[in-house]
Every structure is written in structure tokens, then in C-alpha cells.
Subunit: 255 residues, 2 copies
Amino acid sequence: MSKPVNPDSEARRPAPDARKERWRKHRQARRAEFVDAAIRALGKHGPDVGMDDIAAEAGVTKPVLYRHFTDKADLYLAVGHRGTELLFQRLVPALNTETAPRPRIKQSLTAFFSVIDEFPNVYRFITGRHLPAESDVVHEDKEMIAAALATLLGDYMRAFNMDSGGAEPWAHGIVGLVQNTADWWLDRQSMSREAVVDYLTQIIWAAIDGILRDAGATVDPDAPFELPGEAHLHAVPEPAETERETTRSSGGASA
Amino acid sequence: MSKPVNPDSEARRPAPDARKERWRKHRQARRAEFVDAAIRALGKHGPDVGMDDIAAEAGVTKPVLYRHFTDKADLYLAVGHRGTELLFQRLVPALNTETAPRPRIKQSLTAFFSVIDEFPNVYRFITGRHLPAESDVVHEDKEMIAAALATLLGDYMRAFNMDSGGAEPWAHGIVGLVQNTADWWLDRQSMSREAVVDYLTQIIWAAIDGILRDAGATVDPDAPFELPGEAHLHAVPEPAETERETTRSSGGASA
DNA sequence: GAGTATCTGTTACTTGAGGTAACGGTTACT
DNA sequence: AGTAACCGTTACCTCAAGTAACAGATACTC
């Protein structure tokens, strides 16, 4: 801000000084480290940890934390992104594998359940009511999954010359169906993981099959079914540990 | 605490003084009044209202509020109960009407959607991430609806000599399916209420029908289907505006 | 009617967690 | 050598939740 830049300087902006660049990777690593600490602290003190506790868990004091996260919400958002990353790493490949419908459903469910089974605390924290509204990452995630599902369903339906208007509500419905059942299962653990997954596979396929049937189509759930130009949920879309602007520039030069 | 009671006095505890009794109804009314104010204030200032604002909205100051609610969480819990009451008033009759399966599904969905359509702000607040975890009423509500659904499904399934193990996960699944779709619809409003309800009716019946079909049974969705000793979700189970203990007795005389 | 239990309400305070200011030290680029 | 970015600290500010302490009404009990 101190050196006045001439108007056309925007063209050659890269690296006026390497000292800034040098730290980029380091900062990301540090953020990740704090996210780990936050998760550990969350496990220790429960979901109402203070920033002091998190900082202590990371072996530093509060202001250090605030150099990397603008906010408690920002930190929790990063925790959320960590969860998203974990989930999508396993879910995306499962969803995108082009096999027969039913195994595809089942392997996607297995992916999902394996993640929440492995990190139940993180999952509960992220989906639970403990984070501030700004850190809500679940909504985005669900939107993303639902969007992928919607195009998938829509394509199938159009392939059968059906009206595809139901694709979107149904996609959101299926996402909710899975999540709510997962929450319930995680709470109760009243049956094995395989059992829930099987029950869910059954109901989801039953639903899809029923809808196809309503339109006069029948599909063998275990026969490979290829679609021209299949919809893909491309890798994890948010860079997960990307740092938000942390410096508090007091009012960025309007006009 | 000042007058020492003799040991056996617990037997004849009712009404030593009518002055206590006299106010009971009044307190309930007052609480309800504050709940109204809270909802109004929520509408005005958004979901991060302060207790001062709520008090002001009710025409009083904070301490008055705290005489009726132990806590912000307590107040929000009462707001939640109000919502539950609103919902169950319409949902319970719809669910319990014994008609053919499909119209029954549809009228239940219509009931649900009409409520959230009529009170979107309340709905969003209650289901959203703004209340403290202690005020979560949605979880209970969903459990209750799912439980009713589970017995219903279970009874049907047993009537067909099917294994009823799926009833519970499916019940929770359907609840989640509806809620998530409702959230999506409320956000986007990209189709009419009737349309979502129809799509949901279709997928839910498709799912149930498919499951029955897997077991070799077929049911006409529009033919009345009576079941011996049908499961009922009995009226709204929580007294909605019941007051929690508000007096802060400083440490109840241990030993 | 005197006494009092329970409400009505107020202003002024305490508390605690989130967040910040201001300082000093270290590394490695220019 | 100079400096731009980091490392880290202690001590503070802020603001909303929640509390103390006080004073006036109403309507029951004796």
C-alpha cells in the first residue's frame, strides 16, 4: 500500500519479492496443524472448547491462532473442509465408478458409512449444532452431492424419455435419506454397518426402480448400464485448506 | 427453607397455600407471550438477536425474561416447542387418518409443507444452525415421527410375513428424505408446493412398493388397506409450554 | 385489616470467551 | 545491512449473557 503503483502495473504483478511467496506452503501446513489441534481439543473438551484450549493443544497461545484464522468460525470452517476432504476422497470415486446401478449405490453408501464410522467425532461435530452458522459446510456438501445425483438421475430419466422434473427434489431427498439414517445409525449402532448399507441400498434402488416403472421402464439393477456422456462429480471442488484472507486491511480502497 | 419441616410432612404436600397455585396459568401465558416476542424479534433482528432485544420486543427488560426462562437456550427451547406444536397439530391427524397408502402419504406431506410454508422463518430458525445444542427440538421431533413411521411400516411388513428389520432405518430415511427436500424447496422455491408434494409422494410410494415387491407382495396404493390394531402417533406428546424449573436454589442440601 | 407470598418491574453490576494491541525475537530474501 | 515475513508472548478490550439488589402491586391467609 505504501508504494504507489502505476495504472498498468497489474499486468506484471507476479512476485515483486520472493519473501512473500516463500511462506505459502508453510502457512498451509500450519493451518492444517491447527486444524488437527482443534480436532484433538474438540475430542478432549467436548464441542464447547475455547480458543485458548485449542491454542494450548497446539502448543501456542491464542494470538498465534488468530494469525492464521480470522475467526473461530473460520477455524471451524477449516475443520469442516477437512471433513469434506475426507469424505469426498472416498465418495467421489465410488459414485463415479460406472458399474451396474445397485452395486454403484451400495459402494457409494459403503464409502460414506466407512468415513463416518472411522471419524464419528468429527462427523458429529460437523453435522451437529455446535458450529456457528458461517462454518456450515454440510449444506454445501449436500448441495454438491445432490447436484451430481440430480444430473445423474436426470440423464437416466431423459434416456428413458421421462420428464426429468423430479430429478432435483429426488436427489435432495436421497441425500437426506442417507444422512438422516446415518445419523440415526451412528447414535444407536443397533445394527451392523453392512446391514444399514444393505437396507439403504434396497430402499434407494426400490425408489428408483419404482419411478422408472411408473414410466413404463424396467432396468436390471445388477446389469451394467452405460449412458452416453455420464455425469461426473469432479474431485473435491474446494481446495480444502485454502487460506482465506487473514489480514484485516481496514477498508479496501473503494473507488 | 426457613421453616423446618418434620420428616413425614412429605405425605400431605398438596397446597399449603393457594398463592403459589394461583399463578400457574398466568406464568404459562407469560411464557407464551415471551415466545411470541422472541419470534417477532427474531424476524426483525435476524437469528443473532440479543436477549435485550427480545426483552425490549416484549416491552420489558432482561431480568424479567430471566424470571421465566433459566437461559437463552431455555427460551429457544420454548420457541422450538412452539414449532413442534404447530407442526404436530396438522401432521398427526394427517398421519393417523386410515385411508389408502398413497393419499395418506400425500396428505401427510401436504400437512408438513403447509406448515413450513406458512411459518418459514420459524422453521428455518428451528432447523437452522443458530440455536445452542441444548435447544435442539428437531432431533426429538424427527425421532418421534420416525418411531411412528417405523411401527407403521413394521406392522405392514409383518402383515406380509416379511422381516421387519428394515422398518427403523427406512423410517428414519423417509423422515430425512422429506426434511431435506423440504429445506431445499424452501430455499429455492423452484417449483410449486403441490409439485414437490407430488414428487415426494411418488418417490416414497415407489420405495415402499418396491420393498413390498422384493418380498413378493403387491398393494394397490389407492385402495383402502386396513391393519388390525393400527399404530398411532398420539397427539403432541410434550406439553409444549410446560415451564422448566426456573428457581435457582443454590445447591440443594446434600447430605 | 395486618401480614406476606408471589408476582410486577427497574438500574447497575459481574463474568467469561472472543478477539486485539503492542511488544520483542528469528529467519532468509534483497 | 536492511527488511519482510514469520515466530511467539503478556496484557488488554469488548460485548452479550446472566445476576444482585432494590421497590411497588396484587390478592391470598389469618
